[in-house]
């Protein structure tokens, strides 16, 4: 560098008194001139904070749709991250649930004078169960071992993820419910209560088994029960059945709470 900046000019620049053209020219010179850079007095603490601010903008990735949505609904950002990481809340899985829900609703309209609406009632409660299976556990979460040894409450984490999955499934069900040609006597609870009961039974079993095994058992049991109900002409969605689902849901809630310390260690079940 054949020329150097006057100290007075540097001081004016630092005080913010230099005009934009002079400042830009000086900055261009300082970039290549170590000797003149030494004239600058730098507040190290400020500089460090500035770099941290820059790094905080650059390093963290952009949150996904689910995480952003949860944050918009007031969920703290750290909790939103922990919930959104769940495979059950990935867009691909939610789309699959929406598609199955939609097909079940369409299939149930095949014969509006008959009883095909029961297809929807039988299928809809299985979707939150599938969601729970994909919400937590070694099979679906590659970082599950890290989760197990973290001090975060595993029970709470499973419940929050299960509740989120259940809520999403219910919302999707509510969206398609109007096209299901169910008689007036069959209310929305006809699939909501079984969905709740099956989800809670899955969570109870998950205190003893891997979540996906629990979900598979509950799903299989439900399908078998529906086939049995059809073959033996037992009404599976009338008021008596609804009372049974409500009672099961209540009992399962109690069991889940009683077993809350059995979700965070293998072999402790």
């Amino acid at each position: 560098m054949s020329w150097h900046v006057d100290e007075l000019v540097v001081r004016r620049y630092q005080d913010g008194a230099a005009n934009r053209v002079s400042a830009a020219s000086l900055e261009a010179h300082l970039t290549g001139c170590e000797q003149c850079r030494e004239l600058l007095t730098v507040d190290q603490a400020w500089l460090e904070m500035s770099w941290i601010g820059v790094a905080d903008r650059v390093e963290p990735g952009k949150p996904g749709v689910v995480e952003r949505s949860l944050t918009k609904f007031g969920v703290p950002s750290h909790l939103a991250r922990v919930v959104a990481v769940s495979p059950a809340l990935r867009i691909s899985f939610l789309l699959a649930v929406a598609l199955v829900m939609g097909f079940a609703a369409l299939a149930s309209t095949a014969n509006s004078t008959g009883e095909t609406y029961r297809i929807f009632l039988a299928v809809a409660p299985l979707l939150p169960v599938a969601g729970v299976a994909f919400a937590y556990g070694r099979l679906v979460d590659p970082a599950h071992e890290f989760t197990m040894v973290a001090p975060i409450d595993s029970f709470r984490l499973l419940m929050v993820r299960a509740a989120t999955v259940l809520t999403v499934s219910i919302v999707l069900g509510l969206v398609v419910w109007p096209i299901v040609p169910a008689p007036r006597s069959v209310g929305i609870s006809a699939w909501l209560l079984p969905a709740l009961a099956l989800t809670l039974i899955t969570l109870v079993l998950a205190s003893r088994l891997e979540v996906w095994i629990a979900a598979a058992m509950v799903g299989g049991g439900w399908v078998a029960a529906m086939l049995l109900a059809v073959s033996s002409e037992v009404e599976a969605f009338d008021a008596d059945a609804q009372s049974l689902y409500a009672a099961v849901a209540l009992l399962a809630t109690g069991a889940v709470l009683l077993r809350r310390n059995h979700y965070d260690r293998e072999g402790d079940r």
Partner: protein, 287 residues
Amino acid sequence: MNVTLSEVRKQYGSVRALDGVDFTLQTGITGLLGPNGAGKTTLLRCLATVLAPDDGKINVLGFDPDHPNERTEIRRRIGYLPQEPGFYRNFTCFDFIDYLAILKEHVDRVARHAEVRRVLELTGLSDKSTTKIRKLSGGMRRRLALAQSLLGTPGFLILDEPTAGLDPELRFRFRQLVTELAADRIVLLSTHQTEDVAAICDRVIVLDAGKVRFDGAPAALIEVAAGKVWMSDERPTSARITWRTATGEHRAVGEPPEGARLIEPTIEDGYLMLVGVAALVDETEAA
């Protein structure tokens, strides 16, 4: 604060993974050696509170993992590197460690990010912070897994095969790092690399078929093979273990024949001698 195990047992079906394991760990580095299926990973998972033993007592830094609240206290104080760590491959290194820091209750965003940068720096991954995990090599992933174990400066580090997949330079850096960390904390590392044990461990425990076969200083493990290692021009038939070296000679471990050319044993010789003898005892018991 210590880590103690008394009469710890764990069984999978008919296989006894841990069969009455007893020892106490104190500040410093303890190496855990053992053949595949010896129970090392089961032991580390029990200590990391991932797995409940069937029987026996474990106490980690004054807390009992059988009590849920104390289990949480242990988790706040340990760093654990699993044998086969899983990753979210689409996450960047920074985001993955940040996520695990959230799980470790680092709630404040600014402080958490500073902690993430600290552990990435410690493991030499600062320049990879914005790289997606799927683009990392196996060795880098290993370092990333190690980085998460250092979050929050844990008092007890449990490292399962920490140097697997690391090249010699990284292994050297790892040894430096762990030696520094062990100045004021307990480190238990499971490894197949006897040279790691010789290089950095104050103590070595050899586990075989779920039982502690040796517990002592690395020098004492070397002593196990004193007078039992020799070189021979021909492949010896009496040796327990033998292999051909680069010079064309055969190195043998076992009971030497008369007039054998004895050499100084290494820690690996001691380990092979010990596990070999243990295997013979097992066969005799089974018979």
